[in-house]
């Protein structure tokens, strides 16, 4: 358990799913061998040992015993294969200056899997520009500085209502307010009004107040009368982002309200869509923070697009922080598998089978890519492998033609850190599953 937990928290889920998949695969594999035993027309199996000893049998038990291998030895093979694969990864990674052009390729590779091509193209530029905008030298990239907002929107029913400044629900409410209770808050509101008059006099500048806490209707009304737009209950993260985007800084008390803490933006306006009000703050001095507005007709589309954007942002962040990438389209898997097949010969004993199994597993990537695109997986793989050997370049599958292509030239890139992490975690999980002596049920229900 501990080894699996050490990998990452998601291993719990991965372990459960992986265990099931492995069990299914193993069962299927065995079934393939044993299936052909059945009946007088079934196939006889001739087992030849390393020393040349021969045994003929159709007995399931004998087959299982003879063909079975000790899990620990296989696991050793996995470990050796992993180390070799990581070496290959280091050799093939492409270190480049992460300029916009290359980042567009990285983003596009990620996005095209998640949304249709046209939308992916639109999102590609947006996503790259967002990360570049929020990047601050000397700090790790904080993707929370890219806020994703959504608008559930039927195209063609665009309503652009401007806040009319009506803050009371009924006239009675207004009358209920007693002046004496208001004095304290009025004084604070007055401070804001004074500051506005000082700064905006003689100009047609607007003034906006954004509060992390609430603002009551009476104050909203007073401020509105003086041409001040007031927003309440802002998220803390947005307060930070606003300081970055507009300059200025948030203050905790009215005593600290001075001209120096003010920021600046070119345009502020409000947009109402049904029940929701969106305030747009545009033409900012220093856009170190970015908001992406996703418009879609329903919740599942919005979620799909948001998820795609988040994945794209992460892919770019990884690329920038790694300083390198690896060619995609299954290219490095082909290269690793080839290296492993050569390497296998230097391994003594049955651990060699573990290395072979690892190589076979890697090749699933290019095969499945081809299969999903409608091409024959085995044929395509053979072509790609041949091209790789001949050209010594990193060659993957072109999904439009089913032919080999140099992934880097086509602009298909994967993240280095992701591939590296996968090699580690997959090996650990597979090894743990092999070495489990009893069936363990996922989750807490194991104690029932």
């Amino acid at each position: 358990m501990a080894a699996i937990k050490a990998v990452n928290s998601k291993a719990e889920v991965a372990r459960a799913r992986a265990a099931l998949a492995v069990n299914i695969c193993a069962a299927r594999g065995l079934q393939d061998v044993l299936r052909t035993n059945l009946g007088p027309k079934g196939t006889m199996k001739m087992l030849v040992s390393g020393a040349g000893d021969i045994k003929l049998t159709k007995d399931g038990n004998v087959l299982l015993d003879e063909m079975g291998l000790h899990p620990r030895i296989i696991a050793e093979g996995f470990e050796a294969a992993k180390i070799k694969a990581l070496e290959v990864l280091e050799e093939v990674k492409v270190t480049k200056e992460m300029k916009r052009k290359i980042l567009l390729d990285v983003a596009r590779t990620s996005l095209q899997t998640k949304v249709h091509a046209e939308l992916a193209d639109v999102l590609t530029e947006v996503v790259v520009d967002s990360v570049l905008a929020v990047r601050r030298p000397g700090y790790p990239i904080d993707l929370f500085m890219v806020e994703i907002m959504e608008m559930k929107h039927k195209l063609g029913t665009d309503t652009k209502e401007v806040n009319s400044g009506f803050f009371y629900k009924t006239a009675e409410e207004k009358e209920k307010l007693v002046k004496a209770e208001r004095k304290f808050i009025e004084d604070r509101v007055q401070k804001i009004i004074d500051l506005k008059d000082k700064v905006c006099a003689q100009s047609n500048k607007g003034f906006v107040v954004i509060n992390q806490k609430g603002i009551d209707p009476f104050s909203l009304d007073s401020l509105a009368k003086h041409g001040i737009v007031a927003l309440r209950r802002a998220k803390r993260r947005n307060m930070e982002r606003l300081s970055l985007a507009c300059g200025g800084m948030a203050v905790n008390s009215f005593e600290d309200l001075t001209v120096d803490c003010l920021g600046h933006a070119g345009l502020v306006y409000e947009y109402t869509l049904g029940e929701e009000k969106f305030t747009f703050i545009e033409e900012c001095v220093n856009p170190c923070s970015v908001t992406l507005l996703v418009k879609g007709p329903n919740k599942h589309t919005l979620t799909q697009v948001k998820d795609a954007i988040r994945d794209g942002l992460r892919a770019i962040k990884n690329a920038i922080e790694d300083g390198c990438m690896v060619p995609g389209a299954g290219a490095i898997e082909v290269a690793m598998a080839e290296a492993l097949v050569t390497y296998k010969n230097s391994i003594k004993g049955r651990a060699r089978l573990g290395v072979q199994a690892f190589a076979d597993a890697l090749l699933i990537i290019p095969k499945v890519l081809a299969q999903n695109a409608g091409y024959d997986p085995q044929e395509t793989l053979v072509k790609v492998q041949a091209e790789h050997v001949e050209s010594k370049q990193l060659v993957g599958v072109d999904l439009n033609t089913g032919e080999p292509m140099v992934a880097a030239d086509a602009g298909v890139w994967d993240n280095y850190c992701v591939k590296k992490q996968l090699l580690h975690s997959c090996t650990v999980i597979a090894t743990n599953i092999l070495l489990v002596d009893e069936i363990m049920r996922a989750g807490m229900s194991s104690l029932k």
């Binding site: 629900k169 029940e275 879609g296 229900s445």
Partner: protein
């Protein structure tokens, strides 16, 4: 501060909380529907405290609970996560993918006939795929008054109720329901069973963001937010085998301590006999009969109690804000309070309030609802009491002038005075706040039938003929800062100390450390100390 309604945001966390919530909102809804009925007293409770007005993208006005609820995958059955009010079928169909698409459909939940009947009574799915409400007579209120032509609504049979949406009669806003996909509501595997699991779910950025967005949506439009009322499952289900009891104990302890740290006031609500390890039989009520194994019944009773004790901060005039109520009850760190109620409040025909109160004698009249033991023999530090549903004519005794009053209560001139005087007699010197309301608690279907078989002879609850379904009842509810918590919390701590935590490694695996348990014990004991100094004193 004067002004508009003091809004409250309700949070429901967990499935049993969902049951209590469903009854609660049904009750609020029933009260809304009655608002224009001339027989009813003018609005004593302000619905805007709990509800919000809104509008759909099609310009339709809506009035929905200001609610966020979290529950597990599979718990909604046939209720859609975004509800029905804001639906638009055409828009729902659009997708952002042009390549191959395969659809994997889960087995359709059997349509809940009750839900379908409710939806069709409320509105119509028009040809453009938009669900529109039928014309609302009074502008507010989401349930139109039943007219001669509207068929009587279906009443769900108790056996058919599996999840809370099976009997919820209220439309929820699309932002209300937040499902946790990680854990299953039912089945053998992947259950949410341990405190650490729940804690780590809420720490995930995905759920934090979801929760934050929804909170901001509701809170931003509030002008005078007074607070949050949170219904939270302390543990999953009722006690069964030994292992579940241990989990129940651990979850209760962790839950209580953590909730206390982050709230102004915490009140455990349960019809069980005890919070600790040793199971005690569930409480019984003199005038109602219920099945303690049915969440449908238990949650109904708790919802009624809640509908009563929360009255102070929902009043239209002179409300006591949540902050004030909490302050009053929780001074000196005593943030945990117990609840009790008399459901229904027994007022025989011809009786007056003083007569009824006198009949209780000196004993604490209410049934305890916090699984903290019987209230008798314990001392109360502060209490907030609400009595609702007594006719004004019965408030004071109708003695002929010249007759000597049988008790001090009979001499009082108003119902409020009588109630206050009674509380003084029961617990002299205790800070008591009391409220007397004319509006009764609604118990019309889908509220379960709990009353008619058990009413005291001759007692007619709301003027309806005997044997007919009861529509409303008077209820007495109390929130009490009580010394019984001293024993209860100490007992919890003792039970915990006796546990060999190495046996329950699975609970710990979910994210709780041994140090956490040690800390928990300390917190429990210091909390218990706050409530000391009650029973041994001679009053």
């Amino acid at each position: 501060m004067a002004g508009g309604a003091r809004e409250v945001l309700t949070l429901q966390l967990g499935h049993f909380a969902g049951f209590v919530g469903a009854h609660w909102w049904n009750q609020q809804d029933a009260a809304l529907g009655r608002a224009t009925d001339s027989k009813e007293p003018p609005g004593e409770l302000c619905p805007d405290v709990l509800y919000r007005t809104g509008r759909t993208l099609h310009g339709q006005e809506t009035y929905t609970p200001r609610l966020i609820l979290m529950d597990l995958k599979g718990s909604l059955s046939s209720l859609k996560e975004e509800g029905g009010l804001y639906r638009d079928k055409q828009l729902d169909a659009a997708i952002a993918w042009q390549g191959k698409l395969t659809t994997h459909k889960e087995e359709l939940y059997p349509k809940n006939p009750y839900l379908q009947d409710f939806l069709s009574a409320e509105g119509v799915l028009s040809s453009d795929g938009v669900w529109r409400v039928k014309s609302i007579p009074n502008g507010k209120g989401s349930s139109p008054l039943p007219t001669a032509t509207t068929p009587k609504p279906l009443i769900p049979t108790e056996a058919s109720i599996r999840v809370w949406s099976d009997f919820l009669r209220v439309h929820l806003h699309p932002r209300s329901i937040c499902m946790i996909q990680k854990y299953n509501h039912d089945g053998e595997a992947g259950r949410l069973e341990a405190f650490g699991q729940g804690e780590s779910v809420l720490k995930e950025p995905k759920y934090q963001e979801e929760l934050e967005d929804r909170l901001h949506f509701y809170v931003e439009e509030c002008d005078y937010l007074q607070g949050f009322q949170i219904l939270c499952d302390l543990h999953d289900g009722f006690s069964g085998e030994a292992q579940r009891n241990i989990y129940r104990l651990l979850n209760t302890a962790f839950g209580l301590v953590h909730l206390t740290a982050h709230s102004s006031l915490v009140c455990p609500l349960s019809l069980g006999g005890s919070l600790g390890l040793r199971p005690e039989p569930p409480v019984s009520f003199p005038y109602l009969h219920y099945d303690a194994t049915l969440p449908f019944h238990c949650s109904a009773i708790l919802a009624t109690a809640l509908d009563t004790v929360t009255v102070p901060y929902r009043l239209c005039s002179s409300p006591v804000s949540m902050v004030h109520l909490a302050d009053m009850l929780s001074f000196c760190g005593k943030k945990v309070v117990t609840a009790g109620a008399i459901i229904p409040f027994p007022l025989a025909p011809g009786q007056s309030l003083p007569d009824s109160l006198m009949q209780f004698g000196g004993a604490t009249p209410w049934t305890p609802l916090s699984a903290c033991g019987e209230p008798s023999g314990t001392r109360c530090f502060a209490q907030s009491v609400v009595l609702r549903g007594i006719d004004r004519a019965c408030h004071t005794s109708q003695l002929t002038p010249g007759t000597p009053p049988p008790s001090a209560l009979h001499a009082c001139t108003t119902g409020e005075e009588i109630l206050a005087q009674y509380l003084q007699q029961q617990q002299p010197g205790v800070m008591s706040s009391s409220h007397l309301l004319l509006t009764p608690c609604r118990v019309a279907p889908p509220y379960p039938h709990l009353f008619s078989s058990c009413s005291p002879p001759g007692m007619v609850l709301d003027g309806s003929p005997k044997g007919a379904a009861v529509e409303s009842i008077p209820v007495f509810g109390a929130l009490c800062s009580s010394s019984s918590l001293h024993q209860t919390l100490e007992a919890l701590a003792r039970d915990l100390t006796k546990l060999d935590l190495r046996r329950w490694a699975s609970f710990m695996d979910a994210g709780v450390e041994h140090d956490d348990v040690a800390e928990l014990l300390q917190e429990l004991q210091s909390l218990a100390q706050c409530y000391q100094g009650g029973d041994s004193l001679v009053d």
